[in-house]
């Protein structure tokens, strides 16, 4: 089981491809944070939970292409008036994971709540555990 599941969550290193996407070409958006994630599974699906504070549901872009799950987030945050103390800044988020073919990529769904993104990825039929009856002859 451990070997099988490791393949589900291989992380892809790398930064947003600026040549491919014009929207990421500005200097500001070249800076990004890799959001921390929890990844776990139950019998039916693989679940990715990512902290994206400052991102509302319109600011999230999830993309699956060539078995690669890409999470992008655009934080909307401005500090008002005169800054007295600044411990954090919010920028853009970006992280990629390699999916195995066990995930049914057509049925991926996601929700965003309180700055946390939850991605549900149902497993395909073949990767669900099956009970095999042993006949005693």
């Amino acid at each position: 089981m451990a070997e099988q599941t490791a393949a589900l969550t291989t992380e892809k290193a790398g930064s947003p491809d600026k040549t491919k996407e014009k929207s990421l070409a500005t200097r500001d958006e070249a800076i990004y944070i890799a959001p921390p994630v929890d990844i776990f599974e139950n019998e039916d699906s693989l679940i990715v939970v990512a902290d994206l504070p400052g991102v509302d549901k319109d600011g999230v872009a999830i993309n699956v292409e060539d078995d690669i799950l890409t999470i992008k987030g655009k934080a909307k945050y401005t500090q008002l008036a005169n800054v007295l103390r600044q411990e954090f800044t919010l920028q853009n988020y970006y992280r990629q994971f390699q999916l195995s073919d066990e995930v049914d990529q057509s049925k991926i769904s996601a929700e965003s709540r309180n700055g946390v993104l939850t991605i549900m990825m149902p497993k395909g039929e073949k990767s669900k555990p099956k009970q095999i009856k042993v006949k005693v002859g």
Binding site: G14, V49, A50, P53, L84, Q86, E87
Partner: protein
Amino acid sequence: MSLRSLDILEEMARMRREIDGILGEGGLSSWTFPFSRISFLPGRASQVYPLINISEDNNNFYVDALAPGLDPETLNVSVTGDQLVISGEKRPLPKNIKSEYIHRSERAAGQFTRSLSISAGIESDHVQANYTNGVVKIVLPKVEAAKPKQIAVKVS
């Protein structure tokens, strides 16, 4: 193959930037940007949680706290005298998941409290707090005495 090794180099460069950010600057600045990029979680890698930004204008102080994924019922903001206290709890993963089904657990969880002292007078009855997209936004109105007064300059 060569593409993959490039990815690793990029990842190492990113880690190095992060470590430089932690070790490179001493004093208060190590709590601020860019250290804050990796420490907006309770528990791991941070002793101060949540991270906050404070700003002001003529009428109000604004305190923003970075705390994604809180249980809104546990979030508590209170003002006692000159102390502003923010506390809450970030829920851990559901307990019924077997450990072999957890692949990554980077989002640390737990209870937290942070208090700030406010030197200027605020109207504690009119403090407002809002929790939006994982950021707690608190507005603290200044008392009249703390507001700046415009003084008209007469030209004679």
